[in-house]
C-alpha cells in the first residue's frame, strides 16, 4: 500500500511539473497577435541534409515585414524523418500558432505533413519536387502548394533536348529513394511522347561507394544516352563510373544535382553533362528579358554575401521563392483577417491559390484552383556543364 502511494505520488509530481513547464512554455508563446508567423521545417540533417541546409540558410533572406506587418519564421529540422516532420508540423500549429508552414525538403515527409495541414486548415508550401504533393487538388491538397518545378516540367526539358539531339534510347540510373522513384515516373511518359526508348533502369544508394555493376548493366543495354537521377554530389558517382568504363554518349543529370559541390566533386567526369534547372542557376547568363533574372541575381548576391562565394544553390532558391509567394499572398489575407486566426489562414490559402504573376527566382507563377505549382516553361532552362561551370543552353537546342 505504501508503495502504491509512493508511485501515485511520483506520478502526480511528474504530472504537476510537466504541466508547470507547459504553462511556462505557453506563457512564452503568448506574444503579440500581430505578426504573421511562418513555420519552416526542413531536412537539415539526415539523408536530405544537402537540400535542407541551404534551404534553412535562405530563411534569413526572407522578408521580415510585409505590408507593414512583421513576419516571423520559426525554423525546425525534421532530420528527413516523417515522424519528426509531422511532429514539427503539430508543434507549429498547436504551440507556435503559425499561419502557414513551409517545408519539408523531400516528398515523403511533405506528403505526411500535408495531411496534418489539411486537418488543421493550415496552408503548406512544400520545397519538395514531386507533383503528388499538389496533384490532384482535392480536399486535402487544397492546402498544399509547392515552389520547386514539377519533375514533369524538368523531365520534358530533358526529353526535348534528347529528341533534338537525336537520342533514340536511354538508360536510367536513379537513387533508391523517393527522388529516384519520382523521376522515373516522370521521365517514362516524357520519353514515350518523343518516341525515345527507355532501355535500362538501375538504382543506387546515396552513400554507395561503387556503381560499377549498375554502370556495366546500363552499358550492356547500349543506350544512346544515360540519365542520372540523383541529388547533390552523389549524382557524380555514376557519371564518373560511366566515363571510366568508356561510355561515350551524352549524360543527363537532373536539377537535383545543380549545386557547386557537384561541380567540385564531379570535376572533369561531369564535363558535358546536360541538365534542366531553375533559371537561378545561370542567372547571369539569362537574357535580360527573362523575368527572373533580376530577382535571381538579387537572391544570389544576398545569399553569397551571407554565406560566402559559391555557396548558393537552387535549393536555397526554392525557399526564397516560397518567401516570395507568401510575400505576394499575405497582403490580401491581411485585408480579410488578423494573423493567428483561422480566418487569416483560410484567406492566406485563398490568396496563394489566386497568386498571379509572382516572379520567382525560377520563373513566373500563376496559381489556379487546379494548379498549385503554377509554373510554366519559364521556370526551366537547359544547362550544360562546360569548363567546370554551368552554361545556359539556348532554348530549343
Amino acid at each position: 500500500m505504501k508503495k502504491a502511494f509512493r508511485i501515485a505520488a511520483f506520478t502526480a509530481a511528474v504530472t504537476i511539473s510537466v504541466s508547470a513547464l507547459g504553462l511556462i512554455a505557453s506563457g512564452s508563446v503568448a506574444r503579440a497577435a500581430d505578426p504573421v508567423r511562418i513555420g519552416v521545417t526542413v531536412s537539415s540533417t539526415g539523408p536530405a541534409a544537402s537540400l535542407g541546409i541551404p534551404e534553412a540558410n535562405a530563411v534569413a533572406l526572407l522578408a521580415k515585414e510585409v505590408a507593414g506587418h512583421p513576419v516571423q519564421y520559426i525554423v525546425l529540422d525534421d532530420g528527413t524523418d516523417t515522424t519528426k516532420g509531422v511532429a514539427n508540423m503539430r508543434k507549429f500549429i498547436s504551440e507556435e500558432k503559425v499561419d502557414a508552414v513551409v517545408g519539408s525538403s523531400v516528398t515523403p515527409v511533405t506528403l505526411a505533413m500535408v495531411e496534418v495541414g489539411a486537418e488543421n486548415k493550415v496552408p503548406v508550401v512544400s520545397l519538395a519536387a514531386n507533383a503528388k504533393i499538389v496533384e490532384p487538388v482535392d480536399d486535402k491538397r487544397k492546402w498544399a502548394f509547392k515552389t520547386p518545378q514539377n519533375d514533369r516540367l524538368m523531365a520534358k526539358g530533358i526529353a526535348d533536348h534528347m529528341a533534338a539531339n537525336g537520342v533514340k534510347s536511354v538508360g536510367f540510373i536513379g537513387f533508391t529513394d523517393a527522388y529516384g522513384e519520382g523521376w522515373l515516373e516522370e521521365i517514362k511518359p516524357a520519353l514515350e511522347s518523343k518516341g525515345i526508348k527507355l532501355v535500362a533502369v538501375e538504382r543506387y544508394n546515396r552513400p554507395d561507394t561503387s556503381v560499377t555493376g549498375q554502370a556495366l548493366k546500363l552499358m550492356a543495354a547500349k543506350p544512346d544516352a544515360i540519365m542520372v537521377a540523383g541529388a547533390g554530389t552523389p549524382a557524380a558517382l555514376p557519371a564518373r563510373t560511366l566515363k571510366e568504363r568508356g561510355f561515350k554518349g551524352p549524360i543527363y543529370q537532373t536539377h537535383g544535382a545543380a549545386n557547386n559541390d557537384f561541380l567540385r566533386v564531379g570535376g572533369k567526369d561531369v564535363e558535358g553533362s546536360v541538365l534542366p534547372a531553375g533559371p537561378v542557376l545561370v542567372a547571369d547568363q539569362l537574357p535580360d528579358n527573362h523575368p527572373s533574372k533580376k530577382v535571381a541575381q538579387k537572391f544570389i548576391a544576398d545569399y553569397e554575401a551571407k554565406y560566402g562565394k559559391g555557396s548558393v544553390s537552387t535549393f536555397g532558391a526554392h525557399m526564397y521563392d516560397a518567401g516570395l509567394l507568401l510575400q505576394a499572398a499575405i497582403p490580401a489575407a491581411l485585408k480579410v483577417a488578423k494573423p493567428g486566426t483561422p480566418e487569416f489562414r483560410a484567406a492566406l490559402r485563398d490568396a496563394i491559390e489566386n497568386a498571379k504573376d509572382v516572379v520567382y527566382t525560377q520563373g513566373v507563377v500563376n496559381m489556379t484552383p487546379t494548379d498549385h505549382v503554377g509554373q510554366d516553361d519559364r521556370a526551366r532552362v537547359m544547362v550544360q556543364i562546360k569548363d567546370g561551370a554551368w552554361k545556359l543552353l539556348p532554348a530549343g537546342k
Binding site: 504553462l23 537539415s44 511532429a87 538504382r203
Partner: protein, 618 residues
C-alpha cells in the same frame, strides 16, 4: 567475471513492483489505478499546451515498443534491432487495408496484429537460433532489408508511401485530434503494461525469465526454451505492431523512413536508458528520449546562438553521460529515490494441492530398473570420455557415481540427462528408450536434476526459481497469463514450491534473490526445484559440495527420506564419506570406463578402487 547481469535485478524489482502484497488483488490494483487516474487528467490540465499532448502521444507510441523490448531484451536477454520493422508491419497493414479496401481501422487492427505476429514468427523461426551477438546483427540485417523491400515494391507505394489514412473513429466520432488520441494511445499503453506484468508473473513468464539463467537449466525442467524465445519475440513484435497501427492513424501517412534501422536503434536506446529491466523503465525511457530531443530543438539554438545541426551531437553526448551515471537505466534510480523495495510474494498456504505430474505406464510399474544404461559411449574427436559404460538404477535405490577427476562422471551425467547426445549406446528410463532425447523430454519422463555449477536464474527470487521446477505440472499459456486466468494454478504452483522449500529447510529464504544465497544453499534450492517436478527419479550432481558437516547430514537424511517415498536417486559425488554412508550401491569410474560396482562396503575394500581413486596411497 565482470557483469553479474544487474539488469536482471532490476527486472526482479519491476516485476514484483506492481505492488503485489499478501492481501491480494485489491491492493495491487491501487497503484496502477492511481497512475491511471492521474494520466487521464493530464489533458484536462488547464493551460497545458496542446503540443505537450502531441508529445505524450508520441511517447505512448514509443513506450509500447519499448515495453516489448523489456520482455525481449531486458528480461529475455535477446537484443533486437528490428522493432521498427514490426512497427512498420502493423502500420503498413492498416494503411493498405484502410486506404485501398476501405476497411474500418478497428477491423484492420486484428489484421495488423496478425500480420505482424506471423511476420515476427517467421523472422524469429529463422533467426532466434542465433545466440549472443549474432542475433542483434541478424535483426539489423532484417530491418535494413525491410526498409529497401518496402521502398521498392509497388504494393507499399515505394518510398513515397501511403497517405490519406483515415482516423480511427469511435461511435462516429473521429479520433483525429491530440487529446482524443491521447486516451486511445495511453489506454493501449496501460493495457500493454498490465498484460506484460501479468505475462512475466506467470508460468510462461518464468520460462522467459529463466532464459538468462541458462538454457540448459530451463530445458531440464521441461521448458521449451526455443518456444519461450519465440514467444518473447512475437510478443514484443505484437506490441510494436500495435504501436504501428496507432502510428498510422495518428500520422495518417506511412512511408519507409520511420521504420528504418535508425528508428530501431532509437527504440532500443529508449528501453536501455529508461531501464530495460522494467516496463516502467521503458515508459520512462520513451518519455525521456522524446522530451530531450524536443527540448534540445528548442533550447540549443538559444544556447549556442547558432541554428545548426547540434541536436544529434548533444543528444549523443547526453546519452553517453546518462549511461555513465546510470548504466542500468534511470528507473532503478527513480525507485531508489522513492525508496521502493520489491514486494514479497504471498505464501498462498490456502491454495489447493497441485495435481501430481501425469505418469507414464512404465513409471507406474513397480518392477524393472528405473534407469538402465547399456554400452554408453561418448567421443569428443579422438578422446573417449565415456567408454561403453553400463549400469542400472533400481526403484527406490540410491546409486552413487564416483571416480577421480576426469573419469567421465560429468559427461555420463550430461548423457543421461539429455544435455549432450551419446555417440552410441542405449539409455532407458522406466523401460522406455531415451537415447539421444533432449533434456526437456527426459524431464517429462519424471527425471529431475541438479547441476554441478549451480544454475539458478539470477533475476528471480528463490521461490520463483523453485516454482520453475513445477513447469510441467502447470498448463497455463501466455493468453491465460495475460488475462489472469492462471491465478488458481499459479497459487497451487507456489504453494507446492513453498512446500518443497520447507522440506529442504529454506522456507524462510523464499523471497530472497536466488543469487544472494551462499553456494551451498543454492545447491539445496536446486534440490527443492527438482522436487517440484514431482519426479520419480532424481539426478544429483555433487549435491554435498560446499555444505558443512551438519548440513551434509541433513541432506543425507532428506535423501534417505525421499528414497523411503519411492524415489530413485543417482548422484555424482566427490565426498567419499557422504557417499559411503548414504548409497545402496556405487559405480566407480576411471578413464571413462566402469572400474567397479558394488555396495559401499565392497567398494571400500576393492584394491583396484583404492589404487585408482586414492592414488595408491592407502
Amino acid at each position: 567475471m565482470s557483469t553479474p547481469a544487474p539488469i536482471n535485478n532490476a527486472a526482479a524489482d519491476a516485476i514484483s513492483s506492481d505492488g503485489r502484497a499478501p492481501g491480494g488483488r485489491g491492493l495491487r490494483l491501487v497503484a496502477p489505478l492511481a497512475a491511471l487516474a492521474v494520466c487521464a487528467l493530464i489533458p484536462l490540465v488547464p493551460g497545458l499546451p496542446q503540443f505537450w499532448i502531441t508529445l505524450l502521444n508520441y511517447i505512448g507510441l514509443y513506450a509500447l515498443v519499448a515495453i516489448g523490448l523489456v520482455v525481449l531484451t531486458g528480461v529475455g536477454g535477446m537484443t533486437s534491432f528490428g522493432q521498427a520493422m514490426f512497427v512498420g508491419a502493423g502500420a503498413y497493414t492498416t494503411a493498405i487495408l484502410t486506404t485501398r479496401y476501405g476497411v474500418n481501422p478497428w477491423l484492420a487492427l486484428p489484421a495488423a496484429l496478425a500480420v505482424t505476429g506471423v511476420f515476427a514468427w517467421g523472422v524469429g523461426a529463422v533467426t532466434l537460433r542465433l545466440s549472443g551477438h549474432y542475433l542483434p546483427l541478424a535483426t539489423i540485417a532484417w530491418n535494413i532489408s525491410f526498409f529497401y523491400i518496402v521502398g521498392n515494391l509497388d504494393i507499399f507505394a515505394k518510398f513515397d508511401g501511403i497517405s490519406g489514412i483515415p482516423p480511427i473513429a469511435v461511435g462516429g466520432f473521429a479520433l483525429s485530434d491530440g487529446p482524443s488520441l491521447y486516451y486511445l494511445i495511453w489506454g493501449a499503453v496501460a493495457l500493454a503494461v498490465i498484460a506484460t506484468l501479468n505475462l512475466l508473473d506467470s508460468r510462461v513468464g518464468r520460462a522467459i525469465r529463466a532464459l538468462r539463467g541458462g538454457v540448459v537449466a530451463a530445458e531440464s525442467f521441461g521448458v521449451d526454451t526455443g518456444r519461450a524465445r519465440i514467444l518473447a519475440f512475437v510478443y514484443a513484435a505484437l506490441l510494436a505492431g500495435l504501436s504501428g497501427w496507432l502510428y498510422a492513424h495518428l500520422q495518417r501517412a506511412v512511408n519507409p523512413s520511420p521504420f528504418g534501422l535508425n528508428a530501431s536503434i532509437e527504440y532500443l536506446l529508449m528501453a536501455v536508458v529508461g531501464g530495460a529491466g522494467s516496463v516502467w523503465g521503458a515508459i520512462l525511457g520513451a518519455g525521456l528520449v522524446t522530451i530531450i530531443r524536443d527540448q534540445l530543438q528548442d533550447w540549443l539554438p538559444w544556447l549556442i546562438g547558432a541554428r545548426g545541426n547540434f541536436e544529434a551531437i548533444a543528444f549523443g553526448v547526453i546519452l553517453v553521460l546518462l549511461l555513465q551515471t546510470a548504466r542500468d537505466g534511470l528507473w532503478p534510480h527513480v525507485l531508489r529515490l522513492c525508496n521502493v523495495r520489491p514486494a514479497t510474494r504471498g505464501h498462498h498456504a490456502e491454495a489447493g494441492q497441485l495435481a501430481p505430474r501425469a505418469r507414464s505406464a512404465g513409471e507406474q510399474r513397480a518392477d524393472g530398473p528405473v534407469l538402465a544404461v547399456a554400452d554408453l559411449r561418448k567421443q569428443f574427436g579422438g578422446l573417449v570420455a565415456v567408454n561403453d559404460l553400463s549400469f542400472v538404477v533400481g526403484r527406490g535405490e540410491i546409486v552413487g557415481l564416483i571416480g577421480p577427476n576426469g573419469a567421465g562422471k560429468s559427461t555420463t551425467f550430461d548423457l543421461v540427462t539429455g544435455v549432450t547426445p551419446p555417440t552410441s549406446g542405449d539409455i532407458r528410463y522406466f523401460g522406455e528408450n531415451a537415447t539421444g532425447e533432449r533434456a526437456r523430454v527426459i524431464a517429462r519422463r519424471g527425471v529431475a536434476r541438479t547441476f554441478q555449477h549451480v544454475r539458478l536464474a539470477a533475476g528471480m527470487s528463490v521461490i520463483e526459481n523453485v516454482a520453475l521446477g513445477a513447469h510441467l505440472r502447470g498448463h497455463a499459456g501466455p493468453v491465460g497469463a495475460i488475462l489472469r486466468l492462471d491465478r488458481a494454478e499459479e497459487a497451487r504452483i507456489f504453494a507446492e514450491a513453498h512446500r518443497q522449500l520447507g522440506r529442504v529447510g529454506l522456507a524462510d529464504l523464499a523471497d530472497r534473490p536466488a543469487v544472494s544465497l551462499a553456494l551451498g544453499q543454492q545447491r539445496i534450492v536446486e534440490i527443492a526445484r527438482a522436487l517440484c517436478l514431482d519426479p520419480s527419479m532424481l539426478l544429483l550432481d555433487e549435491p554435498a559440495a560446499g555444505l558443512r558437516h551438519r548440513e551434509k547430514k541433513q541432506l543425507a537424511a532428506l535423501l534417505r527420506q525421499l528414497r523411503g517415498e519411492g524415489l530413485s536417486i543417482l548422484l555424482v559425488e566427490h565426498d567419499m564419506d557422504f557417499v559411503m554412508g548414504l548409497t545402496d550401491r556405487l559405480v566407480v569410474m576411471e578413464f571413462g570406463s566402469r572400474l567397479a560396482e558394488g555396495t559401499p562396503e565392497e567398494i571400500r575394500n576393492n584394491p583396484a578402487v583404492l589404487e585408482a581413486y586414492l592414488g595408491g596411497v592407502a
